[in-house]
Symmetry: D2
Subunit: 283 residues, 4 copies
């Protein structure tokens, strides 16, 4: 039988808490009721915290703003670590010139614009003029025509051998209690299958995001991996990735992993969280 533990008593054992966003802090209805108390408590206790998200659809500033609008002021832009930041780092280090094409909204292009490269939405790409395109970044499932622009992407990749970066590895995201939508990570798999290539994926469970966050958290401090707790609602991203990187992990049951299924999912996947808690709310 599943043994639930008290989130507050767990948190006291760690110096830094990493939170997943969707399913932990908020859901399709808004904030998880009471979650603001958790951050009050963390601040009182002088514990550091960061949000690790695969959401590359908006900049940290816009993401933080979305929490402020909901009444949660503890999430400031410097607390947000998004897979989009890794896409930016990749472009900085590996793509020196030319144009970066992208799938996503204008907001999502934030991450690649900051790299100083010319950006081009796939909708504006002309297939007879692709010699300057030196990378393709998949950022968000919105902002393009799925039929027309995905076919354009296929043909771009058949005719130009360039790195493709997937800035969000999720395949779906919830839009209501019973409905989901296909995320850009799911679209990326379609394109990979069709062109027969494996793209560069950033985002949980890949260790590079956990490492990026770990370095970020350590900026002016001495911290070990076992000083950090990763809190998430999804076994195969938050928990698997956190475990592999060496963090302790807490599975939270307010999101995609529903209480009555948790035990069976853990057994069938072999992904074992250090703790299981009803929610991340500390009252």
């Amino acid at each position: 039988m599943l043994q639930l533990q008290d989130f507050k008593s767990i948190v006291t054992k760690y110096k830094v808490i990493f939170f997943d966003a969707f399913g932990v802090l908020k859901n399709y209805k808004g904030l998880i009721p009471g979650i603001e108390h958790t951050f009050n408590y963390l601040q009182e206790q002088n514990k550091d915290y960061f949000i690790l998200t695969n959401d590359a659809s908006r900049s940290p500033a816009l993401l933080a703003e979305s929490y402020h609008k909901l009444g949660l002021y503890a999430i400031t832009p410097d607390r947000i670590i998004s897979s989009g930041m890794l896409a930016k780092e990749y472009l900085d280090l590996k793509v020196n010139h030319g144009t970066v094409a992208y799938l996503g909204t204008e907001d999502s292009a934030h991450y690649i614009e900051r790299s100083g490269l010319k950006t081009l939405p796939i909708s504006q790409l002309e297939l007879d003029n692709i010699s300057e395109v030196n990378a393709l970044v998949l950022l968000d499932d919105e902002g393009f025509d799925w039929n027309k622009d995905l076919n354009k992407v296929i043909n771009l990749l058949r005719n130009r051998n360039i790195p493709v970066i997937v800035a969000n590895t999720d395949t779906t995201y919830p839009v209501s209690q019973s409905q989901v939508a296909i995320a850009i990570g799911g679209v990326a798999e379609l394109i990979e299958n069709v062109v027969g290539k494996k793209f560069i994926r950033f985002g949980k469970p890949d260790s590079q995001l956990f490492n990026f966050a770990f370095e970020h958290a350590c900026n002016n401090c001495i911290i070990d991996k076992n000083d950090i707790l990763m809190v998430g609602d999804t076994l195969h991203t938050d928990i698997m990735g956190g475990n592999k990187f060496g963090f302790d992990t807490a599975l939270i049951l307010t999101g995609i992993t529903q209480p009555h299924m948790a035990e069976q999912y853990i057994r069938s996947t072999g992904i074992i969280p250090t703790y299981i808690c009803d929610s991340a709310v500390i009252r």
Copy 2:
């Protein structure tokens, strides 16, 4: 080195010839020049022939008409065996009542309308009224909004456990010399990945289409598997499927398998045609 053989001298060894359509009889530009002579020759020699196609976007009558418009009159509707026919057989045998939802054009719905069931394009489906939907058929990549309607399909399948039939297993099809488009078989893989289920797929290389064609060809005759030659341009559909079913196979180099790559593809895939020929044209 690749040893090419003369198509005419091969054909004389068989009683029935099965042809793939795209890349063998026609390409994005129109008919393969001279292909009409092949059918004149087959008729003179009293050899039977059939077209085996994964194209479920149109009825045999409309497919035959498309050849007639190009000037090839030898392809009559009764000569066409489409994966759409297997979708119809499945619905006849396994789905007795209710509504069949589909992705595709109105033309493609031909196959499921003939089963006598009520048909409903996904675009007209309402997600709060799905209790009558007893099957979903994926027919064609056109005729729906990829973003909106694929998300609808995901949610239909999350909330109702029904058989899903994929009537075209191809992942892409060529639209010009250098460009392709994603076919409904590629879209089906996206949906399978997202919902975590395996769908029922009809079409080459699956042996059920070869068997359907074999029975069709034998209607009033006594024929063995080794009386039949399967002619195609694609190793992993036409040749792999034909080989597995027990037919001799001829790889044709007027389509997707280009002459300079044929040898390497055969070696890397382990799919070995009985013969390799420049084209299916008999002059």
Copy 3:
């Protein structure tokens, strides 16, 4: 909730019954108690029956003998349809001369010896003398040294482009209530991954075995697909394959699909049997 039906009342609706073997007629302990009554009933009612098995480790004669030893005399060799028979048909039609190498016991080589070709266990293959080897057949998980002989197979396939036939698609088989063993189908996946090729697989759920059985059952009769009931304990082989081929299907809960998990497996896989029954025993 799962609605169970009475096996006897279902059987009356069909002319021919196809049975899976393991989990339906027998398990690791011996015969399913009372199963002999089922065959008495079928014979009284003049209903035909066949055993469809992915077990290619022994000839039909030896398989039938194994039932006789357990006291079930209704299973005669002519009632057994094994995936090994399809391997034999393939070799007859597609491999005309030379040597067929194999992985398996001497008993399992029965199927390929009957094809008239020279057979060679991989253990006796010499890697500097492979020019006569024209096919490789994977028959059984016993009869060879897994480490030494699998490495030999890898190198044979790297140096000679030949068809590889997998005569049993199962990945595991039960050896006791709590333990399983890796079957040759699981070993085949390892080899496929390492050499990067897809092999020719016979056995449920592939439709070729169902078609072979259907033709076999129809030898001197007129029968339709909906006159046949496929009875099995495994959703993704017996039920998926039977459904796809157009048969009605009955899932039996005496084997791998345990009663308390049946409903959830059906929902998560989307493989829906026509009926669900406690067992195939008719008393």
Copy 4:
């Protein structure tokens, strides 16, 4: 056409060089002739260097000794970064007590013994006494009975939900000019398929090994990702992993990527090295 560059002139641009071992420094015949000059040059130029290897079959000390026996003294144990070290780190951080079972030789158990946990080769495991086994590590393809012990592993994992660590992600390794052997990474895929779980994999191309090496190289220095060159012979491990982590990469043609295939592999995989060089030898 492929543009080859001079390895020496490339090396001058970087402060630290990371080398893959097999195919770059040595092959099945012994050292790549002249490779010792490369290390003389690096030492003269005060450039740092490390060996990044997926070989977890022996400790760094034993690996270094193997180079010394071949006459290459520049490879000292502290220069070797093996995927086995990450397995050790994982056990240190995540498995606090009990027994660690393993597949591999006694030499390979070095990495897990250093963690202070009790170690147990699978050959000595008894399946009715598994309650103390808290992790399984796959280390090497030798040192166990593939048939008996792999079946034991399957049943261990069916009856006990524990983390499984794969310390070498390679699927094969070369044993002569024309022959390869299956590596433990290939064996791991077999087990994953059979038990339906995804294991924790350390080793190139996973970014965690590159990160571990990066931190190791920086111990007492200030270094950026673009001060480092990753040199390897394999596109999908050395080059893909190096690129993703943000290093510049050099593909070397003395190993698995043969000169006449390099261009096509790069095009078909979309894995694009910064440079391509004949060899890593500096004369």
